[in-house]
C-alpha cells in the first residue's frame, strides 16, 4: 500500500462540484496553499468550505473565493489583514456564511471524525449563535446541542508523511489539520517531506494513516503570510 501520488493536480482531481471541503490552517499557518491552488486549477465549484477563517489577500482560500468557487463558508473568524475578497462576496450576497464559535467548530469536526452525531457545550448559550438550537441543563448549567461536521474531502498540510499516511505537523501549523483529517471521507495531504515507512517514530505520529487517503510531497510549500507580503495574486 502506497498512498503517495505525483502531483497536487492529481490529488484534487476527484473533487466534484458541490463537494464539502475542509481546508486545514489557522490563518496562513498550516494552510495547504498548493492543494488549494490545484483545486482552483481543477475548477470544482459550488463548494462548501470549512476553514477557521475566510482567506487573506488574493491567494489560497481568498483566491478560491475570488474565483467564485465557494457557495458556502463555515468558519469562526472571517476577518484577516486583507479580508476584501470574502467581505465583498459576502456583502454582495454571493456567498453564504455559517459562523461557528472556534471551539465548537473544532469539536464539531472532531465529532464528525469520531462518530459522535451530537454533543453539548456551554459555548454560545444565551447568544444569537445558539438561536434555534436545542438546549439542555446538566447539573445546573445550561448547554447548547451541536451537530457533527463531516466533509467529502479534507485538504491537509503536514510536515512529514510516510507511504501509509502517518503524519506529523510543524509547530502551530498543526491547528485544525488533525481533526479535519479525521472528518472527511477523502483526506488529501500535502507534506513537506515524504519519508520511508518507519521514518516517523511511532510515538511521534500525530495523524495515523487510517485517516489519510492520498499524500503528495510539496517540498517548498508557500506561506500565505509571505505571499501576501509580496502581494501575490492567484492564479
Amino acid at each position: 500500500m502506497d498512498k503517495t501520488i505525483a502531483s497536487a493536480a492529481e490529488a484534487v482531481s476527484a473533487i466534484p462540484d458541490g463537494a464539502t471541503v475542509m481546508i486545514g490552517g489557522f490563518g496562513g499557518s498550516g494552510a495547504p496553499i498548493e492543494l488549494i491552488h490545484a483545486l482552483i486549477d481543477h475548477g470544482a465549484k459550488d463548494l462548501t468550505v470549512v476553514n477557521n477563517n475566510a482567506g487573506n489577500g488574493h491567494v489560497g482560500l481568498a483566491a478560491l473565493i475570488e474565483q467564485k468557487r465557494v457557495r458556502k463558508l463555515i468558519c469562526s473568524f472571517p476577518r484577516s489583514a486583507d479580508p476584501r475578497v470574502f467581505t465583498e462576496a459576502y456583502l454582495a450576497g454571493e456567498i453564504e456564511l455559517e459562523l461557528v464559535p472556534q471551539g465548537t467548530l473544532a469539536e464539531r469536526i472532531r465529532a464528525g471524525g469520531a462518530g459522535i452525531p451530537a454533543f453539548y457545550t456551554a459555548t454560545s448559550y444565551g447568544t444569537e449563535l445558539a438561536e434555534g438550537k436545542h438546549t439542555e441543563e446538566f447539573d445546573g448549567k445550561h448547554y447548547v446541542r451541536e451537530r457533527w461536521l463531516k466533509a467529502d474531502f479534507a485538504l491537509i498540510k503536514a510536515e512529514l508523511a510516510d507511504p501509509h499516511g502517518n503524519l506529523t505537523y510543524r509547530m502551530a501549523a498543526r491547528n485544525f489539520n488533525p481533526v479535519m483529517a479525521m472528518a472527511a471521507t477523502h483526506t488529501i495531504v500535502q507534506a513537506t517531506r515524504v519519508v520511508e515507512l518507519g521514518g516517523i517514530d511511532p510515538e511521534h505520529v500525530i495523524t495515523p494513516g487510517i485517516f489519510v487517503s492520498k499524500v503528495v510531497e510539496v517540498p517548498n510549500a508557500a506561506q500565505e503570510e509571505e505571499l501576501n507580503r509580496a502581494e501575490a495574486v492567484y492564479p
Binding site: 479525521m182 518507519g198 494513516g209 487510517i210
Partner: protein, 231 residues
C-alpha cells in the same frame, strides 16, 4: 442429534481454517480489528500480495507479530493483553483517539466471535446472561461502527444447537450489525434481514446445513464450495 454432531465434527472446518477463509476477503490496505482469541488467527493467513493494517483498540495501528517468548515488552500489547511488536509504519495513540477510529467508521472490517447471530444481523457475543462477572470491552463499539462486521464461529454450539438464529436469546452486543458470518460449515451473508448462503463445505448438503441453522438460509445464485487448505 448426537449422531449428526459426530458427523459434523469430522467434516467441519477448524478454527484456523475459518480464520483462513475470512482472511481471503480482506482487501489490500484494509484497516482491520481482530477480536480477542480465535479471530486473532486471521492475521496469519493474509493472502500473498494483500496486506491488511491491524488496529488494536488499546492504541496501536499497524503492529507487527508476537515477539519470541522472553522478548516481550509488556508496554507493547494488544487488546488481548498479548505482547506484540512494532514495525515500520506503527503508530501509537490514546484510547479516545483509538475509539474515534472505531466509532467514526474508519475501520474497514471488524472480525469477532459470537454466541448467537440473528438473521437481522443482531449479535450476541458478550454475555451468557447467566450471572457471574459481566465484561464487554470494546465489542459494542466495534460492531456498531466498522464498515463490515464479520463473525467467525462454529456453525453450532457444543451441544449441537444453531448459533445462527431467527432472533437472539442472549444479551445483545449490537443490533443489525453483522454483515458476514464465517462458520465451520459455511459462509453466510446477512442481507435485508435474511441469511443468504454464499458458500458451504462440499461434504454437507443444503438440507443438512439448513437443519443446523436456526433461520431460513436463502440462496441467491450459486452457492460456492467452501474449500480451505489443511492448516
Amino acid at each position: 442429534m448426537s449422531e449428526t454432531m459426530t458427523d459434523i465434527d469430522s467434516i467441519k472446518l477448524s478454527n484456523a481454517q475459518i480464520a483462513w477463509r475470512a482472511a481471503q476477503d480482506i482487501e489490500d490496505g484494509a484497516y482491520v480489528n481482530l477480536g480477542i482469541g480465535f479471530p486473532e488467527m486471521v492475521a496469519k493467513f493474509q493472502p500473498e500480495g494483500k496486506q491488511a493494517i491491524f488496529h488494536t483498540e488499546n492504541g496501536v495501528l499497524d503492529f507487527g507479530e508476537a515477539p519470541k517468548p522472553g522478548e516481550e515488552d509488556w508496554d507493547c500489547i494488544n487488546a488481548g493483553k498479548k505482547a506484540i511488536t512494532i514495525k515500520p509504519g506503527t503508530a501509537f495513540f490514546h484510547h479516545a483517539d483509538s475509539f474515534a477510529m472505531v466509532r467514526g467508521g474508519h475501520l474497514d472490517v471488524a472480525i469477532l466471535g459470537a454466541y448467537e447471530i440473528a438473521q437481522t444481523g443482531d449479535l450476541a457475543n458478550w454475555s451468557t446472561g447467566r450471572g457471574g462477572v459481566p465484561a464487554v470491552g470494546g465489542a459494542m463499539d466495534l460492531v456498531q461502527s466498522a464498515k463490515r462486521v464479520a463473525v467467525l464461529t462454529d456453525h453450532v454450539t457444543k451441544k449441537g444447537e444453531p448459533k445462527l438464529v431467527a432472533s437472539c436469546t442472549l444479551p445483545l452486543t449490537g443490533v443489525g450489525c453483522v454483515t458476514r458470518i464465517y462458520t465451520s460449515l459455511a459462509v453466510v451473508d446477512v442481507e435485508g434481514g435474511r441469511f443468504v448462503l454464499r458458500e458451504k463445505i462440499p461434504a454437507i448438503s443444503f438440507d443438512e446445513l439448513q437443519a443446523l441453522t436456526g433461520a431460513p438460509l436463502r440462496v441467491e445464485g450459486d452457492v460456492a464450495d467452501l474449500i480451505c487448505p489443511e492448516l
